[in-house]
Symmetry: C2
Subunit: 453 residues, 2 copies
């Protein structure tokens, strides 16, 4: 532990903490995964300090875990091997807004809420919305996505350039400020989603969009999950500009009503948001409604004023809390998988049946335009039998997805929770990933134990 | 050369050729770069044969060059170190169309024309249009893009999964059939654009789109390049769904008129295509026209019937031939760079001035929505002074771009022509790229001498 003293010499007393509360704060994320303390937490103020810390850690084979706000869901930031947790909260500057280029340069500790507040002044917004007000560095590290990805793409699609500090302290830039490039390997895409295992991000250049002229929200109620999903396929085929299209199953709507004092019909429901200009949108919304009708939509209700619209998305975002609320003493286990959209309805039905069979309650909700859905299970971590059931349910859902050309996680990432499915999903490609990691982190100091087991 | 006999034993007499005409055919691409013969050309029929060839070549340290149709523009497929050219023309099957998932699985030798003919039956189309009717394997290898990328994205955005044969013969899949994933490293994006230096592609899963209800084309004429570019920025800011928006400069329009018997005003011109549904489009087109007017547009002319529309895009696509036609005995040197869009107008003006100063004639045309433009120079390869001038012009244009946050190639790729700019553009990140290559191709047999020098 004398390395802590050396760290203090390296980047200053005030930037290095072993305070028990600070250590505890960096021992967990928002998931059910078991916490573990780091030996020390550092708070660098710039790229140079990050470089110094990594170079030092690499020389001494000390594990490094980059840490944003700890909102990850698969244990990504838990330092299971101790070592140094790097907290980027002091690197939280918005460095440059380039409205004409639809670009912004930020430090990794900037949150998406903070960024959107600044961008609003320019009539711009940052699209990726994973729910939590995460840091942009963290969102790039896990390749976050969320409700708006069906229209605007995932985190990887927004990152033009990363400044990355490698394990040995070298600082590289992975891209440029251009919309596209065919120069050299596309390492930006590889670093996005690498979960801190390839390097630490110290600057991000991100794509932003103009705030749409009109935003409309609607709720569409269907007899079955199949008909809801089929509507989504029809809407996407027609090229209608939905910006969000979220599925909430009947059981979950029940819980929404209880928790949010809403009175929504307790059937499979799509929560939809349209972005566009007034004339274009009117036509598109009518068209979407017609497509929903053809799929036996029972109600298609516009939330025209901003209060009702806010209530609708609040109800959707509060779904997790709705289940937490009624399950005192239990902890949330969230899993997410993604499939080709043609396999989505079958997968969701199968998952609900598996939950019923196992006697575990929970929510099913999906970014259905992406073929991505989540299951929120409420479990008692101290009940080994229930834990076992939940784990086996998780495995069942992942198996179903991978067998049908899907993936074990659409947006939460691998962390520790999905590491056991990597070989099954990637086969020999997993060895290629390991080889890429070894090429830039030969000593294995960067977030060890994550992704690869 | 006795390895050729061994190859025949490995994959059959009929699949291995040393016929001089065949060798010559595989010695060049469409560029001005000096040809070089391979020792042998093989025509594998399936993944297993590709794997056998690579494994064999790796054991014997024989260079491998994957070959599609040879339409590349920077010498990518020229076997400067001899060895084996792998021609994928026999692997040209469309394996599966999944309309509901907007996906198609193809072998690498399928051309985009062949694919679009098949997709039409389903009301779908493949979006990437680099001009040439290239193979999809080749387009993935160079990360091709083109006129439609402003709306639908580049080749990398379309590739969901690649089956890749690695140097040692291992066969991996880099992705899945899903719209997104956060499982493991995104190796798909790294292999796309790797120009045959990381492995050979044997199967591609690609994203396709519904054919738009209505397609409208227009020509917008401006007093200056700046005003044309400014219109593009305004159109993109407004979220108007342009599918193509191409800039052709005044000098190039002159040549178009001469060659295509058109009578277009000889001023900076945008060639625009709108995709959408009728009602939505009418509004968007009016809006676009208004934005053009605000930028002093002198003419905004719709090519309403399909014949006029075809003539417009033919004129655009024939621009290269228009210059070739008037320069008998000269060869085309095409260069492409990409910049943040705010730097585009300045870059194009600077390039035209540099061409005038050097006394070299040529076309300037750009995928201006992407910040990408090409210069087509007509040069006499046997005139060392002219070659030197052209090379120095190329360098000037690249320097201008990189200095302003741009990249030395937007879509043509590195090959041999842009290898010398890689260190300047990527700095230490180039060493990371090399390390990734070494991780999967330790003997350096895959397309040696390309990208890295």
């Amino acid at each position: 532990m004398d390395f802590v003293q050396e760290l203090r010499g390296l980047i200053g007393e005030e930037s290095v903490s072993t305070n028990p509360t600070v250590l505890e704060h960096h021992s967990h994320d928002e998931s059910y995964h078991t916490p573990h303390l780091p030996d020390v937490v550092v708070f660098p103020k710039n790229t140079e300090e990050v470089s110094k810390v990594l170079h030092f850690a690499n020389e001494h084979r000390i594990p490094i875990v980059p840490y944003g706000l700890g909102t990850s869901l698969e244990g990504h930031v838990i330092p299971y091997q101790g070592g140094i947790s790097i907290d980027f909260q002091l690197m939280n500057q918005i460095l440059e807004v380039r409205p004409q280029d639809f670009l912004v340069k930020v430090q990794p500790g900037v949150t998406r809420g903070q960024l959107n507040k600044e961008l609003k002044k320019y009539g711009l917004f940052f699209t990726v919305d994973p729910g939590a007000d995460a840091t942009l560095g963290g969102m790039a590290a896990t390749n976050a996505s969320g409700t708006t990805s069906v229209r605007y793409g995932i985190m990887r699609d927004q990152v033009r350039d990363l400044e990355v500090v490698l394990a040995d302290g070298r600082v590289i830039h992975t891209g440029s400020m251009t919309a596209k490039s065919s120069s050299g390997y596309h390492t930006t895409g590889l670093f996005v989603g690498s979960e801190g295992t390839l390097g630490a991000f110290t600057e991000l250049t991100l794509k932003v969009y103009g705030i749409p002229e009109v935003i409309l929200a609607a709720r569409a109620v269907f007899p079955t999950v199949e008909e809801a999903v089929s509507t989504v396929v029809d809407i996407l085929s027609a090229g209608i500009g939905v910006a969000r299209i979220e599925l909430v199953d009947a059981r979950s709507i029940q819980q929404v009503n209880l928790y949010s004092q809403t009175n929504y019909p307790e059937k499979p429901t799509l929560f939809i948001e349209f972005h566009g200009n007034e004339q274009g949108l009117n036509y598109e919304v009518d068209f979407a409604k017609k497509l929903a009708d053809e799929n036996h939509c029972e109600q298609f209700i516009f939330e025209t004023n901003s209060k009702e619209r806010a209530q609708l998305w609040e109800a959707r975002h509060n779904l997790a809390y709705a289940f937490i609320h009624r399950s005192p003493g239990k902890k949330m286990m969230v899993t997410d998988v993604v499939l080709p959209i043609s396999e989505l309805a079958g997968s969701i039905k199968d998952a609900r049946k598996a939950m019923d069979d196992a006697g575990i309650d929970g929510a099913i909700l999906g970014h259905v335009g992406d073929g991505n859905y989540h299951i929120i299970l409420m479990i008692d971590l101290d009940n080994p039998e229930e834990m076992l059931k939940a784990e086996s349910l998780n495995k069942h859902i992942v198996d179903y997805a991978i067998t049908r050309g899907g993936s074990c996680t659409g947006e939460h990432g691998v962390g520790i929770g999905k590491a056991k499915y990597q070989r099954r999903e990637h086969g020999d490609a997993l060895d290629v990933m390991k080889a890429f990691k070894a090429a830039v982190d030969p000593n294995g100091i960067m977030n060890p134990g994550k992704i690869f087991i």
